[in-house]
């Protein structure tokens, strides 16, 4: 297959591209709109906002989610906030500054034009959400409140307590429900997309499994929009929800959609450490804690089992403050995470497993008083105590990094269209805006930007300019039969295997998590990655020969669901390792031990790796093919990050 990776970036100066694009796109004839059927998979921020917007524009929409309600998508768990270049604080923010910060924060591995558009529409998002009744935090005078987040120099983050994701999602959800009520959206819950139907070279439908009855269903549409989130659960333990998975995206990849930058994962430094093998997921503690908490470990290994309050000042190593005097505890996420790993590797980690560092509020309480600390962080302290049974007001918190977000995803052009015509990807499912590292409070912004303000226009342009004729939802074509059959066969094989196996899905899944976390995690090197690829291949074989689960496919069967997802993770994990191996530089969340500065910081190699790596699937157990989209920077100049 010859693949031409054309990002389709409009001509013109960066701040005019989107405006110009909008002025020149082809519009679908209003009388025709209701004849087109659009399939939207996923109901998180991107999916719900896109589905609602399409329906308002007059299209017929079918929307799918795996949960029992569209309101439960994992966007709901985002705590911190959403960025927007409103400059309400009059502190010098602007569209350009948000654009610049995002490109720099992504360590110069994102596409300028997409990021600029994101910064432009960020302002509309806030207005939209206010109009929907999202209860953002307010000042006493009634204006919207902001905070600074993730080391940004301006206060551009809007928030709703520690539940910003929840409130934005419920806003998008209510817009979606309004359109369900109007009969314009057919909402299908407890449905999992298992394959994409490609006909005449265009995405024209999907195959789903009804998770309540087990039935396999065919759905046809004139375009398919994937907003199915990221793949952090490939690590087994992450802050992602239990049902978050990569299956829909991966199966599209198998049908020809290139997968971009799979090795870019974000590891969040402040999570509650792993307590034991039983653990099913990790809990994030908002990064804002680092504004006042001081991170340390004992200087001496002998002290790690001592009660922290008995370790005198002289024996504590505030390693972030020591190594990065000007940024201290506020270094970016990847730097904080890597340093925590390093001190634990040295044997100075604390807690039962030795994989934790202290985050200490003693000095903040002394300086500002208990009440002030309570006011700021009460909710978080409460949550911490609930999970760990320790009182962080008296004993330092223990934290450790955990997988949180994946910057990689399906490759998309400026239109958010994948390499399969008619298949679009939005939100965390695409690779588009965050480069090698995402800034805090930017995930919500991107999800809603894609869903409310980008996809509704670019998808219409596709239908109109490509002369797509409305298909009327007809699933009788042989392509549907064929794809459905393949899905059914695959499930049958899995169920048959499940009956005679010996290791449970979770047991194998945990093994994969260990390989990924230890060898494709916070720090990567050639030997480890090559070894990981072999181990994953072996584990995949083991899965196919010895996975065990009970029950049939003709009923609700969550173990079967998980088995199918793990099967995909076992392929995706290998691709992540390959991508990490291929990218011999360090950038953003991707740290190659071979590529660091004398001071041990990440070192980019711009002349070799200023590109997007987009992988083509070539068949089971076959080597994937790498395609490169060169990245050019005309509006920012590349610098090496330094936080000393």
């Amino acid at each position: 297959m010859t693949i031409e990776l054309n990002p389709n970036i409009p001509e013109g100066p960066i701040d005019k591209k989107w405006e110009d694009y909008l002025g020149h796109i082809k519009l679908v004839n209003p009388a025709n709109k209701r004849k087109y059927k659009i399939i939207v998979v996923g109901t998180g921020l991107a999916g719900a906002s896109a589905a609602a917007s399409f329906a308002e524009m007059g299209y017929q929409v079918t929307s799918f989610c795996v949960q029992d309600s569209a309101r439960r998508a994992h966007s709901i768990a985002a705590q911190g906030g959403i960025n927007a270049a409103k400059n309400y604080q009059n502190d010098g923010d602007s569209v350009y500054r948000l654009f610049y910060d995002t490109v720099k924060g992504g360590d110069y591995r994102s596409r300028e034009a997409n990021v600029h558009r994101l910064a432009e529409v960020s302002r509309n998002i806030i207005d939209q959400c206010v109009a929907q009744g999202v209860p953002f935090a307010r000042e006493y005078g009634g204006e919207l409140a902001n905070r600074s987040f993730g080391g940004a120099q301006v206060s551009r983050t809007f928030y709703a307590r520690g539940q910003t994701g929840q409130q934005l999602l419920l806003g998008a959800y209510s817009a979606l429900m309004k359109m369900v009520d109007a009969g314009k959206v057919d909402l299908k819950v407890r449905q999992e997309m298992l394959d994409l139907v490609v006909k005449d070279g265009r995405a024209q439908g999907i195959i789903t499994r009804n998770l309540e009855t087990g039935e396999i269903e065919k759905h046809a549409g004139d375009a398919v929009v994937l907003c199915t989130g990221g793949y952090g659960r490939v690590y087994f333990l992450s802050t992602n929800a239990f049902n978050s998975n990569a299956t829909a995206a991966w199966r599209c990849h198998r049908r020809g959609a290139l997968f971009a930058n799979p090795c870019y994962t974000q590891i969040h430094p402040t999570c509650i450490p792993v307590a034991g093998e039983h653990q099913s997921k990790l809990t994030l503690m908002s990064e804002s804690l680092r504004n006042d908490g001081r991170v340390w470990v004992p200087k001496k290994k002998e002290d790690i089992k001592k009660h922290p309050n008995e370790i005198p000042e002289a024996d504590r190593d505030y390693y972030l403050e020591r190594k990065y005097p000007s940024f201290g505890n506020l270094v970016p996420r990847d730097v904080a995470s890597r340093n925590a790993k390093e001190v634990c590797d040295e044997g100075r980690g604390v807690g039962e497993t030795g994989r934790a560092v202290y985050l200490d509020f003693r000095d903040a309480i002394k300086r500002d008083g208990l009440q002030t600390v309570k006011d700021k962080y009460g909710n978080l302290f409460h949550m911490y105590q609930k999970i760990t049974d320790e009182n962080p007001y008296e004993v330092p918190m223990k934290i450790y990094p955990a997988v949180h977000y994946t910057m990689g995803g399906l490759w998309v052009d400026y239109n958010l269209m994948t390499t399969i015509p008619g298949l679009f990807a939005g939100g965390e499912a695409n690779f588009s805006d965050h480069g090698a590292n995402r800034l805090g409070a930017s995930a919500l912004m991107q999800g809603l930007s894609d869903g409310y303000f980008v996809l509704p226009y670019t998808l219409g342009n596709y239908l109109a300019s490509q002369g797509v004729q409305p298909g009327g939802g007809d699933t009788s074509a042989p392509e549907f039969e064929q794809t459905e059959k393949e899905v059914k066969d695959r499930i049958q094989k899995l169920v048959d295997q499940g009956k005679k196996g010996s290791r449970t899905v979770l047991e194998i899944y945990r093994d994969l998590g260990h390989i990924m976390w230890n060898q494709v995690g916070m720090a990567r090197n050639e030997t480890g990655l090559k070894d990981a690829i072999q181990k994953i291949q072996k584990l995949r074989e083991e899965f196919h020969n010895s996975v065990k689960f009970l029950g049939s496919d003709k009923e609700m069967n969550k173990h079967l669901e998980l088995a199918g997802r793990v099967e995909d993770f076992l392929e995706l994990g290998e691709l992540m390792a390959r991508d990490a191996l291929e990218r011999k530089e360090s950038c953003g969340g991707h740290f190659r031990e071979e590529s660091q500065t004398d001071e041990g910081e990440a070192k980019r190699i711009d002349d070799q790796f200023s590109h997007v790596s987009a992988w083509e699937y070539t068949g089971e157990n076959k080597e994937p093919v790498l395609h490169k989209e060169p990245l050019t920077f005309e509006n920012v100049s590349l610098t090496q990050r330094s936080y000393k």
Partner: protein
């Protein structure tokens, strides 16, 4: 912190194969339970043990496992989401239990929430209540600036208190009448407090309450079990607000 690693617990769990099948309580023993586990991780462990014994695992819903998505929920020893106040069952930890304890685990019980399988119930009725009017009618597109209409901090905070509902259904499960009033009222109050919600305030309350009745939920008789069971501690003020709005509509005070 005293961690116990190997508790053994007796579980009595509701088993039901599908919507139309009869269900019954069954006894299980789960071993090697650590006090650091969440309640759902304990059920994961039970399921692992059951699969190895070739016994069909127990189905239950969960997703975020951090108390925000509202997917999880079961009745533990007679209490919706278990014994700890303000806590979803995914955030309930096994340190609340002792070695040798017997724990009774049942699905939400309500006519409007039919059991799909074991502990999994069908909460579509909530969706339909939301669809009936749980939104502000506004299109995607250019809007007045976010600061165009000031909203006092107190009002915004109160709206947020109501908006914190996670739609789990514990209020219904806890209510002796199986009423959905707390869930419905929380949405009505959130929008009813905000200036953006005023134009549809009257129609919203009538449509949502009507739908709630249609779904077969019971009436609110001010018992307050709902608020006591609510993992987000949504309070009864919401129901008072809803009833007052409803009265105003009925008496023609609000259109």
């Amino acid at each position: 912190m005293s961690e116990t690693k190997n508790m053994t617990l007796k579980l009595k769990i509701w088993r039901q194969a599908h919507k139309d099948a009869p269900g019954k309580m069954e006894d299980y023993t789960v071993t090697d339970v650590s006090s650091d586990m969440s309640f759902l991780e304990m059920l994961d462990l039970l399921n692992e043990q059951l699969v190895h014994e070739n016994v069909r695992p127990v189905e239950f819903d969960s997703d975020c496992r951090e108390g925000i998505c509202g997917a999880c929920g079961c009745v533990v020893n007679g209490q919706a989401h278990g014994p700890e106040r303000g806590t979803t069952v995914c955030q309930l930890h096994m340190r609340k239990f002792k070695d040798g304890d017997t724990i009774v685990i049942e699905p939400w019980r309500a006519k409007a929430f039919p059991v799909i399988k074991d502990l999994v119930v069908d909460r579509d009725a909530f969706e339909r209540i939301q669809q009936a009017g749980g939104y502000i009618t506004t299109r995607t597109g250019p809007k007045p600036d976010g600061n165009a209409i000031p909203i006092g901090k107190e009002v915004a905070d109160q709206a947020m208190d109501s908006a914190a509902c996670i739609g789990c259904g514990a209020c219904v499960a806890a209510c002796p009448n199986a009423s959905a009033s707390l869930f419905t009222a929380a949405k009505i109050r959130q929008f009813g407090l905000l200036p953006q919600g005023q134009p549809e305030r009257a129609s919203r309350v009538s449509k949502m309450v009507l739908q709630m009745d249609k779904e077969g939920f019971g009436n609110c008789t001010n018992i307050g079990e709902c608020a006591a069971a609510c993992p987000k501690e949504i309070d009864l003020e919401n129901i008072r607000f809803m009833k007052s709005d409803l009265r105003n509509v009925l008496f023609g005070l609000q259109k």
